[in-house]
């Protein structure tokens, strides 16, 4: 069920330069179904900014009725969100969309999780779920520079983790594809979230692999009603378009025209 709830800020911390980790508490957590789903956040009660901001669910703690988001304070909305303090309430709509299909990986398999920048957060909950199931994840996490790297430890605890930065200040130097070309990992399925260029590179690099990609598009409603976030599909599909908010944000490789 999708709910709208004023959730309480339990924790807020700058975990890397301008990257914030926020833990929110409320009942909505119990409706979260799959990693890769997102929430739509109203950052203030003002009409300016007006629209909600889509942010991925990074981690779920059902026992405590809490979940984590990780976001970059960039524009007006996310900056306001970064100024919240513990105990304040945040208006959250969610959970929304369809996340990564954990069931597509089988215990004992090795899978690839490739994230770029603020595309990394949803992979964390995904990885936890895969590990729980006995799947072995390899994490390739790309960032611009050392300053904005986050959750390296957390991913390491779950499995093999390669950090790559564009300027080489942390981990490997280059892009996630640089690491992948070197590493030539053996895996059955890949899961990826990050900038469009990265998604394109992933599809091109592994044309024959089963893959799942999480997309971003500007949103209005976040529910599927306004047709703001529509993507055209490739010829292989039966439909002309999909909506990132309600059909996605995660789609199998080859579905979305990119």
């Amino acid at each position: 069920m999708i709910r709208q709830e004023r959730m309480r800020v339990v924790k807020i911390k700058e975990i890397a330069h301008n990257i914030f980790e926020m833990i929110l508490s409320g009942q909505l957590v119990h409706d979260m179904k799959s990693p890769g789903q997102f929430v739509h956040i109203r950052v203030s009660d003002s009409y300016e900014p007006l629209l909600r901001r889509p942010i991925s669910i990074a981690s779920i703690d059902r026992d405590k009725s809490e979940f984590t988001i990780i976001y970059r304070a960039e524009g007006r909305g996310t900056t306001l969100l970064s100024l919240k303090s513990i105990g304040q309430e945040v208006d959250v709509l969610g959970p929304l969309g369809n996340g990564f299909p954990v069931h597509e990986a089988i215990a004992g398999e090795t899978v690839l999780l490739v994230g770029g920048g603020i595309g990394v957060p949803p992979l964390y909950e995904l990885s936890k779920k895969l590990v729980e199931k006995g799947v072995k994840p390899i994490h390739i996490l790309g960032f611009q520079t050392k300053e904005v790297v986050f959750y390296e430890e957390e991913f390491l605890e779950l499995g093999e983790t390669h950090i790559v930065t564009v300027d080489g200040t942390s981990g490997h130097q280059g892009f996630v594809t640089t690491v992948l070309a070197d590493l030539k990992p053996d895996f059955t399925t890949y899961f990826t979230c990050g900038p469009t260029a990265m998604l394109v590179a992933m599809e091109n690099m592994f044309p024959d692999k089963k893959g799942f990609l999480s997309f971003e598009e500007r949103m209005g409603c976040g529910l599927g009603a306004c047709f703001a976030c529509v993507c055209r599909t490739t010829e292989q599909t039966a439909v002309d378009y999909v909506k990132v908010c309600s059909d996605g944000p995660v789609f199998p490789a080859g579905v979305v025209q990119i």
Partner: protein, 303 residues
């Protein structure tokens, strides 16, 4: 007595609150959140003769207290709207107002003819004001003669009352309103969006792929309210008012200015429960104003 009931041509509304066209799809998504039968009516997404895939993305951009959109009338086309969407909506006790769009007069006429036969379509809303398509849309909405001709042509085939949706992007909205009234319109819905633009400060290029978009949300409320006030003085057919409505107070304001009912657009994105919330708050607000019935609000600014 239902204090909120309003009767308009073709529409027996249990309350004067309805979602605006394009901001509620065909209802399915919001039906996950609440019972659509609570609504006074539903204005469904613009329907064209053929399937439309709309404009390239980005299609929306945020502005101060508002947003721009250039969806481009994406919709599954007349046939599928009738057989899937309207059919599905029959499970709710709520009259549907079908928003009709097209490129040529014949398109409008064709859509109107067929869609008006649907059981739950109680009125049409002629969209002569969409700013986001190259042909049709707004071009019909800025010339009183063209607007009147289209209205008459649609009236001739429609099985249900016809409301004409006016564009605010005109010098004299009263002139257009009078023209469509004279041509037989049963009501007016207003306003559609104001044409606007946002640029990416870095590149200098428009944020919206289409270049310009339609401005909606609280930012435009003063303009919408002024236009409803003005048109209410000049026509005797009812007005369904909209433009920036987000609270029960906004509803009071639009009805005071002369609207007989109102539509809520952009606010659904900000607060998906905004329509049922307003409906719930209305009686209390009437008490506060010392009024018995919501219809007593209509046009009280003009007294």
């Amino acid at each position: 007595m239902n204090r909120l009931a309003v009767n308009l041509p073709g529409l027996s509304l249990k309350n004067p609150i309805m979602p605006a066209s394009g901001c509620f799809g065909f209802g399915k998504e919001y039906a996950q959140l609440y019972d659509l039968s609570k609504l006074g009516a539903i204005m469904i997404k613009a329907t064209t003769l053929e399937t439309r895939l709309g404009n390239p993305t980005p299609r929306v951009a945020e502005t101060s207290s508002g947003m721009l959109n250039a969806i481009g009338l994406q919709n599954p086309g007349l046939e599928k709207v009738i057989s899937n969407e309207l059919k599905w909506l029959e499970q709710f006790e709520v009259p549907i107002i079908a928003n009709v769009a097209g490129t040529l007069t014949e398109d409008y006429v064709e859509v109107a003819k067929h869609i008006s036969k649907s059981k739950n379509v109680h009125a049409l809303e002629l969209n002569i004001s969409c700013p986001n398509v190259k042909c049709g849309g707004i071009t019909f909405g800025t010339d009183p003669i063209v607007a009147a001709e289209l209205t008459a042509a649609v009236k001739a085939v429609s099985q249900v009352p016809v409301y004409v949706k006016l564009s605010p992007n005109v010098t004299d909205i009263g002139e257009i309103a009078r023209a469509v009234e004279a041509a037989g319109a049963d009501g007016i819905t207003m306003i559609n969006t104001l044409v606007g633009m946002r640029l990416d400060t870095r590149t200098g290029k428009p944020v919206i792929a289409n270049g310009t978009g339609g401005l909606s949300g609280p930012a435009i409320k003063p303009v919408a309210l002024r236009m409803v006030y003005e048109v209410a003085k000049q026509v005797s057919i009812p007005i369904i008012g909209m433009g920036g409505i987000a609270t029960v107070d906004d509803v009071i304001d639009f009805m005071s200015a002369g609207a007989s009912a109102v539509a809520v657009g952009t606010a659904n994105f900000v607060d998906p429960f905004v329509c049922p919330t307003i409906i719930e708050q209305l009686p209390e607000k009437l008490d506060w104003l010392g009024l018995n019935h919501v219809t007593e609000l209509i046009g009280r600014s003009h007294l």
